[in-house]
Amino acid sequence: MLAWTIYLSFAGALLEALLPKDKPALARWSALAIALAGCGLAVLGFAAGVGHGRGVIADVPWVPSMGIRFTLAADGISLVLVLLTGLAAVAGVLFSWNIELRTNEFFAFYLALIGGVYGVFLSYDLFLLFVFYEIAIVPKYFLISIWGSTRREYGAMKLALYSFVGSAMVLIGLLAAYSSSGSRSTGLVQLAHAGLPVSFQMWAFPLVFVGFGILAGMWPFHTWAPTGHVAAPTAASMLLAGVVMKLGAYGCLRVAMGLFPHGMDPWGFSYLGIGSWRDVFALLAVIGIVYGALVALVQSDFKFVIGYSSVSHMGFVLLGLMTLNQIGMTGAVLQMFSHGIIAGLLFAIVGRIVYERTHTRQLAELEGMHLSKRLPFAAWAFVIAGVASMGLPGFSGFIAEFQVLVGSWSANPWWTGAAGVGIVVGVAYTWRALQLAFFSDAHPVAHIHEHGHELAAITWPEVAGVSMLVAVSLAVGLYPKMLLDAIEPAVKAMLAGGGQ
C-alpha cells in the first residue's frame, strides 16, 4: 500500500505536466487530491505498520547482473517519516494555493519532489535509495529558480550544487561499499551483513555521513539552507525544511550509521577530547545548534530567522543520532518529525501569510505595520508555532529535544550543556522575531498607511493548513506514544545491528 504513495506522486507529476496551462484551478485541485490521497495512504500504512517490525512492501530484481533489487520496505522510522511527508505535502499544496504563474508546472515539479522523498524513506536497497534521493534534487532547483523570490537563481543554484556534491560523496561511498563487499548486492540488509572491513568503514562512514549531512544542514556545510529557504517559494521552503533536510538526516542514520557502524569506533588516540568520528560529528552538531541560534538572533530578514533556526534544530537531530543510545536516537527521529511540522508552519506563516500581503520580510519594516491587529490570525498562529519551536511542553518539539538532551547527557554531558545554550538562545530569537514582526508598538511606517490599503483577508487554505499543522504538533506533543511506539522498536533493532 505504501508503495503507492510513490507511484501516485510520480503519476500526479506527469498528469500535472500534461494539464492545460490556462486552468490553474484544475491544477490546484488535482494536486490537492493527489497529495491528500498520498497522505491518506501514508496514514493508513502507518496505522497498519506500527508494531510489526520491518515490513517488506515490494522486492523484485531490478538490474540482475549487478544484484540491484527494487526493494521497498518500512520500519518504524520510515513509517514516521512517510507520515511526515504526507502531511507536509498536503500543507504545501494548501499554502501554494495562490500560485498563478505556470501553476500546473509548479505542481508537477512539486509532486515529483514528493515522490522522490517518499521513495527515499521507503527504499531498502542502497541503490534505489540513491536514485530517489537524486530525483528529489532536480525539482527543487526549478521550484526555487522559477517561483522563488530573493536572489532565487543564486539560492537555487547553490542548493543544487551543494546537494549534488553531497550526493557525489554518497555515490563514491556506494560504489566503494558495493565493490568491496563482494556480496554482489546493494540491498541495505545484505550490505550491513557483508562484513565490510573496519578500516574501510573508518573512511566510508565520514564520507557518506558528510554527504548526507550536507542536506541535513550540518554545520559547516549548512550555508545552502538559509539562502535556499529564503529564495524558495513558500511551499518549497516548507518542503525543504520539512522533509528534504530530513532526507539528509535519514541517510545519515540509515546508510552511514546502518552500513558502517564501525566507522564510529574510537580512532585509538584522542585530541582535545575528540577520539572518533562520532565525537567529531557530535561536536559539529552542537556547533550547529548554537551557531544557528545565535545567527538567527541577529537576522533582519524574517525568513532568515526561520532559515537559521532550521540549522539549529537539525543540529539536535544529528546530535541525537551521535548519542548512539536508545533515548537519544529516538529523540532524533521524533525531532525529524516535529521539526518537519513546526518548520513548515513557521515558513508558511512568514512566506505565505505575511510576505504575500506585506511584500516585505524585513523585521524593521514589519515593525511599523502592527500586524497583530491587522493580521491577528497570523500573529496567533506564529505565537503557537513559536512556542512549539521553542520547545515548550505540550508540543512535539519538547518531547523530541528533551529526549535528545537526556540521551546526550549519558553519552557526553558537555554536549548537553552546550546544546542547552542553544535552547536558551532559541527562546530569545523566537521571542525577538515574534515581538518585532507582530507585537511591536513602534510608530507606524509612513508609506504603508499613506495608501491605507487593507491587507487581503485570510483564505481558507491558509486556515486549513495552519490548523492541520498545529493540530499534529499538539497531538504528538500531548500523546507522543503514537509515534514512539513506531520509532522505539526500530531504533532498538538498529542499535542491536540486526534491524537493517
Binding site: 530484481p61 538490474v63 540482475p64 537524486e134 532547483y141 529558480s145 560504489l175
Partner: protein, 514 residues
C-alpha cells in the same frame, strides 16, 4: 582468399556502400531538377532503408569473424563488442538521418547522405577490425567523410573553418597513428592485434621496450584525437560549433562509437593474450601469478590512457563551465565523457564486463547527444544562434522541445533515473571491479566529483529554457518526423533509465555467443 567469406563478414558494409551509390544515382539522376523537399525525403528514406538492410545482414555474418587467409589471425571480428558497436552505429546513423529531414543548410542533400553512409561504413569496419591495416583504412574512410560533412554548410564561414581545422588536426593525428603502427609492426613483426600482443609477451619485444613505449604512446595520441581526448581535443569545439547539426550529431555519436569500439578491440586483444595476470607486463616483469593484482600503471598503454582520461574529464568539465555557445558546451562535455570512458579502458577487465560497460556508455551517450543536437538545431533554425540566450523561454516557445532538452541534459549530467546515470554507474563499477587499489578509486572519485561539476553547466542551459523569460514569444516549429525522433530518444532515455536491465541483457546476448 575466399571472397564469399569476406563478403559474408562485410555484408553490412557492402549494403551501406551500395546504398550510398544508389542515393547518389537517385538524387543526381532520377530526381534531377525536382524540388528540394522531395529529394530530401527520397535521400533520407533510401539511407534509412540501407541502414535497415545492413542491420538485417548482421545476423548473417560468420560467427567468430574472418581470419587472414591461410592463418588463424583474425582480420575482422564478429560477435561481442564488434557486433554491438555495428548495431549501434547503424541505429545511430538512422537517427542522424532523421535530423536531416528539416535541415536547410545544403541543396546537395543526396551527396550529404551518401557521404554520411560512407563514413558510417568506415565506422562499421573499425568496429570489427583486428588488423592494423584494416583499422587504418576504416579510420581514414570515417575521417575523410567527417571532414566533408563538417564543411557541408557552404554558405557558413564557420563550417569551412571548422572543417579546415578538423582536417589539419586529423591529418596530423593520422600521421602519428601510422607512425605508431609502423613501430609496432617493426618491433613485433605483425599487423594483427593478437599477434602483436603475443609478440609483446615474448622476449624479443621486451628487449625493445623503449620503441614499444613510443609506438603505444603514438597510437594513444592518434586514437586520442579520434575520441577528442585532451590534449588532442582542439578540433572538437570548432567542429561541433561549425558543422551542420546532423553532421555534428554524427561526429559526436557514430564516430565516437566506432573509435571506442576500436579501443575495446585493442584492450580485449591484450587481455586475451595476457590471460590471468591481465597485465600487459613489458615494463615491470613480475611473474608472480599467485598474486594477480592489476598493476595498471605498470603498462604504458593504460598509463597513457589514464593521463588522457584525467586530463579530459578535468579540462573538459572546467572548460565547459565557461562556454556561452551550447554547441561548444556539448563539445567540451563530450570531451569530459570521453575522459570517463577512457578511465574504464585504462582499467580494462579480462571478462567482458568492462567492454560491456564501455559499449553501454558510448551507445547511450551517442543517442542522447544526437537528441541534444536535434534540439540545438531546431532552436538554431528559429533564432539563428546557438548561444545560451537563444534558449531563453524555450518552455513557452515549444514545451515539448524544452521537455526533451530537460530529459537529455539531465541524462548527460547523470541524474537518475535517466539512462546516463546507469551508464556512469556501470562504468565506474567496472573500473572498481578490475582493481580495488587506491589509485583507481581516487580516479573514480575524481570522475564523480567532476560529474557533479558538470551539473552546473547543464543546468545553465536548462535554466535558460525553463526560468529565463523569452526574448520573443514566437513558436519554434519542428518537422513532425524530427520531432517524433526526438520524442523517441527522450522516451528511450527515460525507459532505459527505469529498466536498465533490458539493454544490458540485450548486449550480453552478443557476448554469450562467443
Amino acid at each position: 582468399m575466399n571472397y564469399a567469406d569476406l563478403l559474408r563478414v562485410t555484408l553490412p558494409e557492402t549494403a551501406l556502400e551500395v546504398t550510398a551509390l544508389i542515393v547518389l544515382i537517385v538524387d543526381l539522376g532520377v530526381l534531377r531538377g525536382r524540388t528540394l523537399r522531395l529529394r530530401v525525403v527520397a535521400a533520407v528514406l533510401l539511407g534509412m532503408f540501407g541502414c535497415g538492410v545492413a542491420l538485417m545482414t548482421i545476423p548473417l555474418q560468420a560467427q567468430g569473424g574472418l581470419n587472414f587467409p591461410g592463418t588463424d589471425q583474425l582480420l575482422l571480428a564478429a560477435g561481442g563488442s564488434a557486433t554491438v558497436a555495428q548495431v549501434g552505429i547503424l541505429a545511430l546513423t538512422v537517427l542522424t538521418l532523421l535530423l536531416v529531414f528539416d535541415s536547410t543548410f545544403t541543396r546537395n542533400v543526396g551527396e550529404f547522405v551518401a557521404v554520411l553512409l560512407m563514413a558510417a561504413t568506415g565506422g562499421l569496419l573499425i568496429a570489427a577490425a583486428q588488423d592494423l591495416l584494416v583499422i587504418f583504412i576504416g579510420l581514414e574512410l570515417l575521417s575523410l567523410g567527417l571532414y566533408i560533412l563538417t564543411a557541408f554548410a557552404k554558405k557558413s564561414g564557420k563550417s569551412a573553418e571548422a572543417a579546415m581545422k578538423y582536417y589539419l588536426f586529423g591529418g596530423m593525428s593520422a600521421a602519428f597513428l601510422l607512425f605508431g603502427f609502423s613501430y609496432l609492426y617493426g618491433v613485433t613483426g605483425s599487423t594483427n592485434l593478437h599477434q602483436i600482443m603475443q609478440a609483446m609477451y615474448g622476449s624479443n619485444a621486451i628487449n625493445a621496450t623503449p620503441l614499444l613505449t613510443v609506438a603505444l604512446v603514438m597510437v594513444a595520441a592518434g586514437l586520442g584525437f579520434k575520441v577528442a581526448a585532451v590534449p588532442f581535443h582542439f578540433w572538437a569545439p570548432d567542429a561541433y560549433e561549425g558543422a551542420p547539426a546532423p553532421a555534428a550529431a554524427f561526429i559526436a555519436s557514430v564516430s565516437k562509437v566506432a573509435s571506442f569500439a576500436l579501443l575495446i578491440s585493442i584492450g580485449t586483444a591484450a587481455l586475451h593474450v595476457f590471460g590471468d595476470a591481465h597485465v600487459v607486463r613489458f615494463m615491470v616483469i613480475t611473474a608472480d601469478d599467485h598474486f594477480p593484482k592489476y598493476l595498471g600503471f605498470a603498462t604504458p598503454w593504460s598509463f597513457a590512457l589514464t593521463i588522457l582520461a584525467v586530463a579530459s574529464m578535468v579540462l573538459g568539465n572546467l572548460a565547459a563551465l565557461a562556454q556561452r555557445s551550447v554547441r561548444r558546451l556539448l563539445a567540451y562535455s563530450a570531451i569530459a565523457h570521453a575522459g570517463y570512458i577512457l578511465l574504464a579502458l585504462a582499467y580494462f577487465s579480462r571478462t567482458p564486463v568492462s567492454a560491456q560497460a564501455v559499449m553501454y556508455y558510448i551507445l547511450t551517450y551517442g543517442l542522447t547527444t544526437i537528441g541534444a543536437f536535434g534540439v540545438v538545431g531546431a532552436v538554431e533554425r528559429a533564432s539563428g544562434s546557438d548561444q545560451m540566450e537563444a534558449f531563453a523561454g524555450l518552455h513557452r516557445r515549444n514545451p515539448v522541445l524544452a521537455a526533451i532538452l530537460l530529459v537529455l541534459f539531465l541524462s548527460l549530467a547523470g541524474i537518475p533515473p535517466l539512462v546516463g546515470f546507469w551508464a556512469k554507474f556501470n562504468l565506474f563499477a567496472a573500473v572498481l571491479g578490475v582493481s580495488k587499489g587506491a589509485v583507481p578509486f581516487a580516479l573514480v572519485a575524481l570522475a564523480i566529483a567532476m560529474s557533479a561539476v558538470s551539473l552546473y553547466y547543464y543546468l545553465q542551459v536548462l535554466k535558460r529554457a525553463y526560468v529565463t523569460p523569452a526574448l520573443d514569444d514566437s513558436k519554434i516549429p519542428v518537422h513532425p518526423v524530427t520531432m517524433t525522433a526526438l520524442i523517441f530518444i527522450a522516451l528511450w532515455a527515460v525507459m532505459m533509465g527505469v529498466f536498465p536491465a533490458i539493454l544490458q541483457v540485450w548486449m550480453q546476448s552478443f557476448y554469450a555467443a562467443m
